[in-house]
C-alpha cells in the first residue's frame, strides 16, 4: 500500500434519523499505522459516526471504503456489523463498556477469537472429540489472549469475572478483547472516560505503542484532551454532525473555529493543554 492511499476513506457520509441530521456530509481519511482523533462537543455525532463505520447503522448517503491488504477494497457500509469485524478487521469498543460480565476476563478474550476457533473446531466436531488440530488452535488462542493480558497488565485478573472488576480495568479489558480480533483499525469510543490521571497516562502509552510498534491504525473518540492532543497524529473536529476542522493537534488547538464552536470563546488554554508530554 502506498503512503498516499489511506487505510480508510470516508466519503460524504450522511446519517439522518427522521428529521435529525446526525452526520452531515462527512469526508475523512484515516491513515494506516496512525492515530486519528475525533473530537467534538456532546451530540456532535461522533458515536453515530462509529456506528456507521462498524455496520450498526446503515448511513443514509455516502461510502466508507477500507483498503484491506488481503481483501482489496471493502465497502464497510454494505457489510453486516459482524462482517466489519471479521472480514474488514475494523474492531470497536463502546462508550458504555460492553463486556460479557459473568464470563472471566480470559473467556472474554477467547470469545473475541471465536471465528478462528470455530473454524478449527469444524462445526464443533473436532472440538467435541478434542482432536489435535483443535487443541492447537485453542492453545494458540490462549497464547494470544495471555499475551495481550500480560501486556496490558491484566494477567492476574485473568480468571475473574469481568463484571466484578473496577471501571478503569474494564476499559482496558475491552481494549484487550478488541485486540484479540486482530484489528487493522481499532475504533475506540471514549477509552479514557472515567479513568484517573495515572490510568490516562498509561492509556496514552499503550495507544502510541499499538500504532507504532504493532502497526494498528486507531480511530479515537475522546473528550479527555490530555489524551487526544497527546497521542493523535491527526484530529478531526465535529460539531452538529459537520466537520469543522481537521489537521495535526497543534493546528487544531489554534483553529479559531474549533475554539469558538467547541471550547467557548476564552478558556481555550485551560482546556487544551498546549504542551505535550513525550
Amino acid at each position: 500500500m502506498s503512503a498516499a492511499t489511506p487505510l480508510l476513506r470516508v466519503d460524504r457520509l450522511t446519517m439522518r434519523f427522521g428529521g435529525l441530521l446526525a452526520i452531515d456530509d462527512l469526508s475523512l481519511d484515516v491513515a494506516a499505522r496512525q492515530i486519528t482523533g475525533v473530537i467534538g462537543p456532546n451530540g456532535a455525532g461522533k458515536t453515530t459516526f462509529f456506528n456507521c463505520l462498524t455496520g450498526f447503522y446503515k448511513p443514509t448517503i455516502g461510502s466508507v471504503r477500507m483498503h484491506h491488504p488481503r481483501h482489496g477494497v471493502l465497502r464497510l457500509e454494505e457489510l453486516a456489523s459482524h462482517q466489519v469485524a471479521r472480514r474488514a478487521q475494523v474492531v470497536r469498543t463502546f462508550q458504555n463498556i460492553r463486556l460479557f460480565p459473568q464470563m472471566t476476563v480470559l473467556e472474554n478474550l477467547i470469545v473475541a477469537q471465536h471465528n478462528a476457533l470455530q473454524h478449527a473446531s469444524r462445526f464443533s466436531l473436532a472440538g467435541l472429540f478434542g482432536l489435535p488440530g483443535y487443541r492447537r488452535a485453542e492453545a494458540a488462542a490462549m497464547g494470544k489472549a495471555i499475551g495481550w493480558l500480560t501486556r496490558l497488565g491484566l494477567i492476574d485478573k485473568a480468571d475473574t469475572p469481568a463484571g466484578a472488576l473496577p471501571y478503569g480495568m474494564q476499559r482496558r479489558i475491552e481494549i484487550a478483547r478488541a485486540l484479540c480480533v486482530d484489528p487493522l483499525l481499532l475504533c475506540l469510543d471514549e477509552p479514557a472516560a472515567g479513568l484517573n490521571p495515572r490510568e490516562s497516562a498509561e492509556l496514552n502509552e499503550l495507544l502510541k505503542r499499538l500504532s507504532r510498534d504493532d502497526g494498528i491504525a486507531i480511530l479515537l473518540i475522546e473528550h479527555d484532551m490530555s489524551v487526544v492532543m497527546n497521542v493523535s497524529d491527526h484530529i478531526c473536529v465535529l460539531n452538529y454532525g459537520r466537520k469543522i476542522a481537521e489537521g495535526p493537534p497543534l493546528a487544531i488547538q489554534r483553529d479559531p473555529n474549533v475554539i469558538k464552536a467547541y471550547l467557548g470563546e476564552e478558556d481555550a488554554d485551560e482546556q487544551l493543554p498546549p504542551e505535550t508530554t513525550p
Binding site: 462498524t54 455496520g55 450498526f56 453486516a80 456489523s81 459482524h82 462482517q83 466489519v84 469485524a85 471479521r86 474492531v91 470497536r92 469498543t93 463502546f94 460492553r98 463486556l99 460479557f100 460480565p101 459473568q102 464470563m103 472471566t104 480470559l106 473467556e107 472474554n108 477467547i110 470469545v111 473475541a112 471465536h114 471465528n115 476457533l117 470455530q118 473446531s121 464443533s124 472440538g127 467435541l128 485453542e138 492453545a139 490462549m142 495471555i146 493480558l149 494477567i155 485473568a158 480468571d159 475473574t160 469475572p161 466484578a164 478483547r177 478488541a178 480480533v181
Partner: protein, 433 residues
C-alpha cells in the same frame, strides 16, 4: 438487592404492624372474589357459595406472614450491614469451585446407577425415577437455549412432541426400531428448531418468548386436527417398545426374548428397569454433550450472546448462526427425550404436549438455576415427587411452582444453585486441557 424492595426502611414494631395491616387489606380485597366467594352448580344453575372462614384464614396468614417476613428481612439486613462493616474485601465466590456441589453430583450419579438394584421389586419407584429422568433430560436440553444462550423459549414442548411423533410414525408406519429412529428424530427436531429460530432471530427477548409460545400452540393444534397424520386427539397407539439389542421384553414364546437369552425368569419389571437405564444413559450423554459444548467456541458464543449481543457482533460473531445453533441443539435434545417418551408410553396424544408441560420444563430450568446441571436434577425431583406425595400436593404443584418462579427471580435471579464455572482457566493450567 431484592430485599430492598420487599421492605423499605422501617424497623419499629408499630411500622411493621402497619405494613402488615396494609398487606392484609390487599389480601382481603384479592381474596374476596376468589377465596371468599365462588359459584357452584346446583341443578344446572350456578349459585354463589361463600367461604368466609377460608378467607379469614388467608388474610390472617398474610398478616402474620408479612409480619414475620418483615422481621426476618430487617434482621438480615442489619446483620449484613454489620458484616459489611467488618470486612471490606468481598470474597470472590464466583471463581472458587464448590467441592461440596461436585461431591453431591457424584453421589447423585451413584444413587441413580444403583436405584433399580435397590428397588428391583418395586416397579413404582423405578417408573417414577424414569419420569424424573425424562424431565432432567428435557431440563438439560432447554438449559442450552434458556440458561446458556439466554433465549426464553416458551414452546419447548413442541420439540418434545415432534420427537415423539416422529418416532411413533416411523415405528408404526415403517417399522423402524428405536435406535434407527433416534438420530432421524433428532435431525427432524433440530430442523424444527431452525424453522422456529429463523423468523425470530431479530426479535427482542420478550417477542421471542411469545413467538415460541405461539409456535408450541401451532404444533399442538396441528397435531389435534391433522387426523390422517397424527391420529388427532386420539393420538397414536401401540408404538413398539424398545428391545434389548433385538431381544424383546416378552413372555417366553416362539421368538427369542430377553429373559430367555439371559436365562432369567420372565418378569415385566425387566423392561421397566431397562427403560430406566436407557433414559439414564440418554440423560448422561446429554449432560456430557452439553458440558462439552459449553467449553467449545460455540458454547462460549452462546453465553456471550446471553451477556451482550451487540458486543458479540462487534467481535465478528455471526449472531444469527449462534442463535440458530442453540435453538437447533436444544430442540434436538428435546426431540431425543420425545422419542424415549413415545417408546416408553407406547401411546401418545396431543394432551401430553400442552403449554403446561412447557411451563413445567421452564420451571425446572429456572428453579434449578439457569446453567446449573445439578440444579435441574433437584428441581425435577421436587417437581415429579411433589404430586406423588398426595392429591393436595398434585393440585397445588403448579401454583407453588408459579409462585416459586417469581420468588426465585426476586431473591436469586440466577437460581438456587447458581454458580458459573469458567470454561477455561489461566491459573490452574487448563490451557493444556
Amino acid at each position: 438487592m431484592a430485599t430492598l424492595v420487599l421492605a423499605t426502611r422501617q424497623e419499629s414494631a408499630a411500622a411493621r404492624l402497619k405494613d402488615a395491616a396494609t398487606v392484609a387489606v390487599v389480601a382481603l380485597l384479592l381474596g374476596i372474589p376468589m377465596i371468599g366467594l365462588t359459584t357452584v352448580d346446583q341443578g344446572g344453575a350456578l349459585r354463589v357459595a361463600t367461604r368466609w372462614p377460608a378467607l379469614a384464614a388467608f388474610v390472617a396468614a398474610c398478616f402474620c406472614g408479612r409480619l414475620l417476613l418483615r422481621y426476618v428481612i430487617d434482621r438480615l439486613r442489619q446483620r449484613r450491614r454489620t458484616r459489611e462493616h467488618a470486612d471490606t474485601a468481598t470474597p470472590n465466590e464466583n471463581t472458587a469451585a464448590n467441592p461440596w456441589l461436585n461431591r453431591l453430583g457424584w453421589g447423585a450419579l451413584a444413587f441413580a446407577l444403583l436405584l433399580p438394584v435397590a428397588f428391583s421389586d418395586n416397579r413404582y419407584v423405578v417408573d417414577t425415577a424414569t419420569t424424573v429422568l425424562i424431565y432432567v433430560m428435557l431440563g438439560w436440553g432447554l438449559n442450552v437455549v434458556v440458561g446458556l444462550a439466554g433465549l426464553l423459549d416458551l414452546g419447548y414442548v413442541a420439540f418434545y412432541a415432534v420427537g415423539a411423533y416422529t418416532y411413533a410414525l416411523l415405528s408404526t408406519q415403517f417399522g423402524w426400531g428405536f435406535w434407527q429412529a433416534l438420530p432421524v428424530a433428532g435431525g427432524v427436531t433440530a430442523s424444527f428448531g431452525i424453522l422456529l429460530g429463523w423468523p425470530t432471530l431479530r426479535l427482542r427477548g420478550d417477542y421471542l418468548a411469545i413467538v415460541t409460545l405461539g409456535f408450541g400452540e401451532i404444533i399442538r393444534i396441528v397435531l389435534v386436527n391433522w387426523t390422517e397424520m397424527s391420529g388427532g386427539p386420539n393420538g397414536i397407539t401401540s408404538i413398539p417398545r424398545p428391545s434389548f439389542f433385538g431381544l424383546p421384553f416378552k413372555p417366553p414364546g416362539d421368538a427369542p426374548t430377553f429373559a430367555a437369552a439371559f436365562g432369567l425368569e420372565f418378569s415385566p419389571s425387566h423392561r421397566v428397569i431397562f427403560l430406566y437405564y436407557l433414559i439414564l444413559l440418554l440423560a448422561l450423554l446429554t449432560n456430557l454433550f452439553v458440558s462439552r459444548m459449553r467449553q467449545l467456541p460455540i458454547g462460549r458464543a452462546w453465553e456471550a450472546m446471553r451477556e451482550d449481543e451487540i458486543a458479540c457482533k462487534a467481535m465478528g460473531i455471526n449472531a444469527r448462526n449462534v442463535k440458530l445453533s442453540a435453538f437447533a441443539i436444544g430442540a434436538m435434545l428435546g426431540g431425543f427425550a420425545g422419542v424415549f417418551f413415545a417408546a416408553r408410553q407406547g401411546f401418545i396424544s396431543p394432551e401430553s404436549f400442552t403449554f403446561n408441560e412447557s411451563a413445567i420444563i421452564l420451571a425446572i430450568v429456572v428453579l434449578g438455576g439457569m446453567g446449573s446441571q445439578l440444579g435441574v436434577v433437584l428441581a425435577s425431583l421436587v417437581l415429579v415427587l411433589l404430586p406423588e406425595l398426595g392429591r393436595d400436593f398434585a393440585e397445588y404443584r403448579m401454583l407453588l411452582f408459579g409462585a416459586a418462579m417469581i420468588l426465585i427471580m426476586i431473591w436469586k435471579p440466577g437460581g438456587i444453585l447458581a454458580h458459573r464455572e469458567p470454561t477455561l482457566r489461566y491459573l490452574s493450567g487448563s490451557a493444556a486441557r
